[in-house]
């Protein structure tokens, strides 16, 4: 056994900073993916056919190609096309958000479909218009049922975020590689950030549990 954790001690602040860097874009990607995913889900159950086609095609493309490819296209290929020099931060939010919205839209669509049709009818009979019916009656019930599936998606996104190391973004993963290259030892820094990822996911899991408990007051 040739393990020496004392050597990474000077690098700990540098690696810890990676938590913040990773969380920053993961947070925005989750929010962006969730909002876009909700809109896409509403398109999928809409009676206007072109909206359904659009949402289905979108999902098919973003689920049907590798995330790393989408990330590379946004970061390396888009500037070539538009001349706009996109930052790694913005590319990461875009790629992860766009990709996540495809999965989120499927989760939410299933959640909406699982709400008893009678809820919609009762709301219609009371004269409640579409928007309020969705935001106040149907979506809150759908969200409650799909919370575990959504948390799963957010956890996956948090871990997959390590892919941004491939476009030179100094996230948690990339920092472990930098430290590894500096020390010529990889095991210690990789293990260290592994624990940090695990802690972040545990945090998300706990938030999910709390939300679930809060939403079950009506049971």
């Amino acid at each position: 056994m040739n393990l020496d954790f004392s050597q990474i001690v000077p690098y700990i602040p540098f690696m810890l900073e990676g938590i913040w860097v990773t969380l920053k874009f993961v947070f925005f990607a989750i929010i962006f993916g969730f909002i876009l995913g909700t809109i896409l889900a509403l398109f999928k159950i809409n009676h206007v056919r072109p909206l359904r086609w659009f949402a289905d095609a979108y999902t098919s493309i973003f689920r049907g190609t590798p995330l790393i490819l989408q990330l590379m296209i946004i970061y390396f290929a888009v500037p070539q096309l538009t001349g706009y020099d996109i930052t790694p931060f913005l590319s990461a939010i875009l790629a992860f958000g766009l990709n996540s919205s495809a999965y989120v839209s499927e989760i939410i669509r299933a959640g909406i479909n699982a709400v008893d049709r009678g809820q919609t009818e009762a709301a219609i009979a009371l004269g409640i218009p579409y928007r309020q019916r969705m935001t106040d009656i149907i979506l809150p019930q759908a969200m409650k049922n799909i919370l575990p599936a959504l948390m799963n998606e957010f956890i996956t996104l948090t871990k997959e975020s390590a892919l941004v190391s491939t476009i030179g973004y100094l996230d948690l993963m990339r920092r472990a590689q930098v430290v590894g290259a500096d020390l010529y030892r990889n095991f210690e820094p990789l293990l260290f950030v592994g624990v940090l990822y695990w802690l972040m996911v545990m945090g998300l899991t706990i938030i999910g549990r709390l939300l679930e408990r809060r939403m079950s007051v009506s049971d």
Binding site: G118, A122, A125, L126, Q141
Partner: protein, 240 residues
Amino acid sequence: MIKVEHLTKKFGNNEVLSDISTEIKKGEVVSIIGPSGSGKSTFLRCINLLEKPTDGKIVVNNQELTDPKTNIMKAREQIGMVFQHFHLFPHLSVLDNLTYAPMKVRKESKLAAQEKAMDLLAKVGLSDKADAYPSSLSGGQKQRVAIARALAMEPELMLFDEPTSALDPEMVKEVLDVMKDLAHSGMTMAVVTHEMGFAREVADRVLFLDHGVLVEEGEPTSFFDAPKTERAASFLEKIL
């Protein structure tokens, strides 16, 4: 109050309602009865356009609902509906179930809506359940809340779609009692029901549907004691 003219409803090629014409006057209580699959519920659901009629006209309060120019959501505010399976909003408290639509649709103030809701809950005997969630209520209590929720919109007309069919027998009476009070208060009501006692005692008129056809209509005593048609007679023979 309600005028139904040549109402026809098809699901695909299956004709569930054929050429039904009738009228319900203000303050009248009408029971709609018939064997299952006769189209009673569909008929009721056509009145507030939960089902879109294939053909014919529905006029409520001099407003033609089947006219594409009618603002149907607005028109539905004056038509209350009570469902077989209650359909209370499970994530809202009883009080919020009653105040949501008045506040959001009728733009009533929170205070006014809550005051009215408490009045209505008192009327259906559930004042103590205002803060409870629907999941903690019995079937009979849920249905009474559902009736109060519909009344909170101050409708001119109430539709009941088999309101007691999903209830345990001992809870049927508490719901029927609320409906009786409502009938005596002068509310216009259309009630799809299997409760022949209610139809006979409370209704001003009975509509008998079979296979989507309005076979017979009349005043309850004569309908139950001496039905004019063969089909009504054989139906009553089976259930009474």
